[in-house]
């Protein structure tokens, strides 16, 4: 289940934020997203909406920080915390 979530988020990030022509960016579970500029802080909002809709969770704005969204693994941790 956890791995399914990770894969789903990773797939979404690659599809929406990584250019298909860009063969230099290999994005994995621990690739920095916000601090590397792959996802800018304004675009975090659409990522948050995606997580809330797909993972059936409500993420408080206070918790949805650039740090908490910086890698797929960190995002999974955050989502799981609020799913419990």
């Amino acid at each position: 289940m956890a791995d399914e979530m990770k894969d789903m988020i990773l797939e979404y990030v690659i599809e929406e934020y990584v250019d298909e022509e860009d063969d230099e960016e290999e994005v994995g579970y621990d690739t920095p997203l916000i601090s590397s500029g792959i996802v800018d802080s304004f675009s975090m909002v659409s990522l948050k909406v995606f997580l809330e809709k797909k993972c059936h969770v409500s993420l408080p704005d206070k918790e949805a920080t650039p740090e908490a969204f910086d890698t797929v693994n960190k995002i999974c941790e955050l989502v799981r915390r609020f799913q419990d």
């Binding site: 929406e16 250019d19 022509e21 860009d22 920095p32 916000i34 601090s35 590397s36 500029g37 996802v39 800018d40 802080s41 304004f42 675009s43 909002v45 659409s46 909406v49 995606f50 809709k53 797909k54 704005d61 206070k62 920080t65 650039p66 740090e67 910086d70």
Partner: protein, 580 residues
């Protein structure tokens, strides 16, 4: 002692020529911003002084002296000349905050062309509109962003050259040119002899209706930018200055390039995503002394709390200022508590080119106030109905300025009628060259405010439907036009919705085409559609589906009605509302 000293005395004895004294500029010297920010600083003996301390993703760092700026910008200037670019032609700079952006800006100006910096997060449609409007001839970009240019280049007849300044040259297409600035260090280049009205920088700004307008500035803007940098940001020779703005917007050029470098001050640039910890680390590592940022960032830092602040040594900071949107009183009070320094709010806009109403070092701060007009700036509040200046403190009206300050924009590219419409009292046939020097007129900013009995100005809001999100203006028309290109959307209206951190975020009201139903997937799809097409700033953060949009009897969507409902304001006169 601050550079400004006594605000009152400065107002009494003001002349813009003081800027020349501050810059130690003498009649007969060159008035070219590119040369003034590099050659001139070297000529005065500061060539080996650090000009730029840059840090990118992953902590990568580079440092450039003023002599580096000189020879590297000479390289850009020479390269452009060899490409056949003529003075006055537009050269777009479309890249992240990498060193090449800053240096190319100087190079373009040095050879007499017009620098057109554009925010690198713009999607292809936002880019197309602005390049088409400006008849841009050359674009400097990066491998990451050239893909957006490729998508639209066939629709841009004036665009002759696409130049990529970093990345692997082997990955470029045949018609694209690779330019490595380090390979083009050029010792000698004679800068173009520009005058105060010679076009320099072109920034695009959004309005309520129509596409964004190009606000053209001239080289004489440097007087206003240098003097406000000295008196408001209080920069001194030994400061380490950090302006967090992106040069894709006017703050990033007026105060992220021209202001500090014309004065020969060292500045830092951090080109990586925002996190509070990374920003504090950057201040600590570089011993930043003066920090010019934006309310959205300050409120994000507030959200991360005082505990984080205490983990860093920020004792180098001595002066803080803010721009982009009104700085709320809580943020001013908080910054004074946790940093020991209050962020001083500054008010100005793309068109004004430099600060107009601000808080000054040494002045009594009223948290939440915009401050007072800069010495030499004649500001007023115009009555909302009569356009006459109000005299009663507390009366809300339009913020207006008497024309004639040196950084004032020269024109809207190809739009003299819209330029004229910004001046109260302008003759029907008056042209930009007359309007911008006519001190009997009022230039109207598009914002509302009042002043109090002590002469402090207090921001109230926009006088139009333009959305201010995170300090950036977004035009509702642009968003609506893009939304109806989505296959599911029949009609759309965009407004600003209140937001704690960003002041406003984009909210849209839409009706769907037959065969489409509201769903989570559709909502997300629409958000990403706008994010990629326009920019992350324009992306709706709230989407409301409607059966029908409110319209006037003549069929115009009543955006102000939707906005009033959203903000809980009086909806006003609805006599023109279309019957159900």
């Amino acid at each position: 002692m601050s550079n400004i000293g006594s605000y009152e005395k400065r107002r009494e004895n003001f002349s813009w020529d003081i800027a020349k004294e501050v810059l130690k500029w003498e009649e007969g010297e060159i008035l070219n911003i590119g040369a003034m920010c590099s050659d001139r600083i070297c000529a005065r003996g500061d060539g080996e002084k650090k000009a730029l301390i840059w840090q990118g993703f992953g902590g990568k760092q580079k440092t450039y002296t003023f002599n580096d700026l000189r020879v590297l910008s000479n390289g850009f200037a020479k390269f452009l000349k060899e490409l056949g670019v003529e003075p006055g032609e537009k050269v777009c700079l479309f890249m992240d905050k990498i060193p090449e952006l800053y240096v190319s800006f100087l190079g373009v100006l040095k050879m007499g062309a017009v620098a057109q910096p554009l925010f690198s997060a713009f999607g292809d449609e936002s880019l197309e509109v602005r390049l088409l409007s400006a008849d841009t001839k050359v674009i400097f970009t990066t491998r990451k962003h050239v893909k957006k240019v490729r998508k639209i280049q066939d629709k841009l007849p004036a665009l002759e050259k696409i130049v990529v300044v970093e990345g692997n040259p082997n990955k470029l297409r045949d018609e694209e040119i690779y330019f490595s600035m380090e390979d083009f260090r050029t010792e000698d280049f004679t800068a173009y002899e520009s005058g105060p009205d010679t076009p320099s920088v072109l920034h695009y700004t959004s309005g309520t209706t129509g596409q964004p307008k190009g606000a053209q500035h001239g080289h004489g803007s440097v007087w206003g930018q240098a003097l406000t940098t000295s008196w408001v940001l209080d920069l001194k020779d030994d400061d380490i200055y950090w302006c967090t703005a992106d040069p894709g917007w006017v703050t990033g050029t007026s105060y992220g390039i021209i202001g500090p470098w014309s004065l020969g001050v060292t500045q830092c640039v951090l080109d990586s995503g925002f996190t509070s910890a990374a920003w504090y680390q950057f201040i600590q590592d570089n011993k930043v002394t003066v920090w010019y940022s934006a309310p959205t960032a300050i409120r994000s830092l507030m959200r991360d709390g005082e505990g984080l602040v205490k983990q860093y040594d920020l004792s180098s900071l001595r002066h803080l200022a803010s721009v982009g949107e009104p700085l709320n009183a809580e943020a001013v009070i908080w910054s004074e508590k946790v940093y020991g320094l209050a962020f001083l709010d500054t008010f100005w806009q793309t068109e004004t080119g430099s600060m107009m109403i601000t808080n000054f070092p040494g002045m009594k701060i009223k948290p939440g106030s915009m401050g007072k007009p800069f010495p030499g700036i004649v500001a007023g509040i115009l009555d909302l109905n009569t356009n006459e200046p109000v005299t009663e403190p507390g009366t809300v009206g339009l913020i207006a300025f008497r024309p004639g300050w040196p950084s004032m924009f020269k024109e809207y590219v190809k739009k003299p009628d819209i330029y004229r419409s910004k001046f109260v009292g302008a003759a029907d046939d008056a042209m930009p060259a007359e309007l911008r020097v006519d001190e009997s007129l009022w230039y109207v900013s598009g914002d509302r405010a009042s002043f109090d009995k002590d002469g402090y100005y207090w921001f109230v809001g926009r006088d139009d439907d333009v959305i201010n999100t995170g300090g950036h203006l977004v035009g509702p028309f642009e968003i609506e036009s893009a939304l109806v290109e989505h296959e599911a959307i029949a009609e759309a209206a965009a407004i600003g919705k209140p937001d704690e951190v960003n002041m406003e975020v984009v909210k849209v009201f839409i009706t769907l085409n037959p065969g489409f139903e509201p769903s989570d997937d559709l909502e997300l799809n629409i958000m990403n559609f706008i994010r990629k097409k326009l920019s992350p700033l324009a992306m709706p953060q709230d989407i409301e589906y409607m059966e029908k949009l409110p319209k006037t009897r003549s069929g115009k969507i009543l955006r102000r009605y939707l906005k009033a409902l959203e903000w809980g304001h009086d909806v006003g006169d609805l006599s023109t509302l279309e019957d159900d």
